[in-house]
Amino acid sequence: MDRAEVGALVQSAVDGDAAAWKALVEGLSPLVWSVVRAHRLSDADGHEVYQTVWFRFAQHLGRIREPDKAGSWLASTARNECLKVIRGLTRLLPTDDPQVLDRVSEDRTPEQSLIDAEEQAAEAERIRLLWQELEELGDRCRQLLRVLMASPPPSYVEVSVALGIAVGSIGPLRQRCLRRLRARLDARGAA
């Protein structure tokens, strides 16, 4: 989302405009969700972090010093809450359970219902393969790409605070990670 637009929406929401709040949630929820998913929390923990971030944002709404940077505020808060969850689970590492993949492909794929034409089946296969290669890309690349994948795309400043990576490093790291993913897809003959 455009920063000037975010700043104006925050101001309107502070002034009592519920539609402005709705627009903020619609525009920035995908970013918060991506940050949560990038940190590989369990569903339950991830859902709670997501809620905590939005509850706290609502609470601080009129006191946010730079309303045009609300996206960064949300991304940074999401990161901190995710790291707290991970700290609290010192004995239980974030899941590398291969069943997570199975679950994604079996329970959660709306495209399953679409597989009634060959073309769609090929598309579904491509999507599944992309996701699988992403999962196997290595934690840091997977994490960076998962945040970049938010729709609308986040700014590099938002990515920076979401992951604790310097803004200037994001472009080069993005290139390396995408190239790496492409190489893996090429190797599978799926480019």
Binding site: F55, R56, Q59, H60, L130, C141, L148, P153, R176, R182
Partner: protein, 181 residues
């Protein structure tokens, strides 16, 4: 992992195959090739974006909860900021499997100490004073706590998920920062 947690090649940002780690596969790329490559990477990123929308979308229920959170916007309440969280600030104690979560919130001269454990929640308002205290669990979820005249309070259910405390004391309303228990 480097000191600041910044990824090094071992952490998974390394290229496979190219071996140079420079990020650009070779020195022979012309500007045109580089431009085409950048476009191809943009296209791959966009494809990932569509993939996430299909395979890992934001659940509709969560979107709705964020919409409803607007009700938590309260300009009249003061926010008590979290100034200590044992999850972050305390040194772990060896041999203690499930230590209680200790939290301290501050709003001006008022301090609220809270301990959350498996049995519930205990707290103290400082300086000691009578307060009417509630646990908020989200938009519309409110549960009163028993509090005494010295600012001590207790609840026999640990908060599940995000929570905040709302205190009414001396004609003022104070809400602690939202936290995940």
């Amino acid at each position: 992992m480097s000191e600041d947690g910044f990824p090094t090649a071992e952490d998974g940002f390394d290229d496979t195959g190219s071996g140079t780690g420079s990020g650009i596969g070779s020195g022979t790329d012309s500007d045109a090739d580089a431009g085409a490559d950048a476009e191809a990477l943009d296209a791959l990123e966009e494809e990932l974006r569509q993939t996430a929308a299909v395979l890992d979308p934001l659940p509709a229920g969560l979107l709705q909860l964020a919409m409803d959170a607007y009700a938590l916007h309260d300009l009249d309440a003061r926010i008590a900021e979290l100034t200590f969280d044992s999850l972050v600030d305390a040194v772990p104690v060896r041999g203690v499997d499930d230590p209680p979560r200790m939290l301290t919130f501050q709003a001006g001269g008022l301090t609220v100490d809270v301990e959350v454990n498996g049995d519930g929640l205990l707290g103290q308002v400082l300086p000691p004073q009578p307060a009417h205290i509630e646990v908020l669990g989200g938009p519309g979820a409110v549960r009163p706590l028993s509090a005494d005249g010295m600012g001590r309070f207790a609840g026999d259910t640990p908060p599940a998920g995000p929570f905040a405390l709302r205190l009414r004391t001396g004609g003022e309303v104070i809400v602690t920062e939202w936290l995940r228990a």
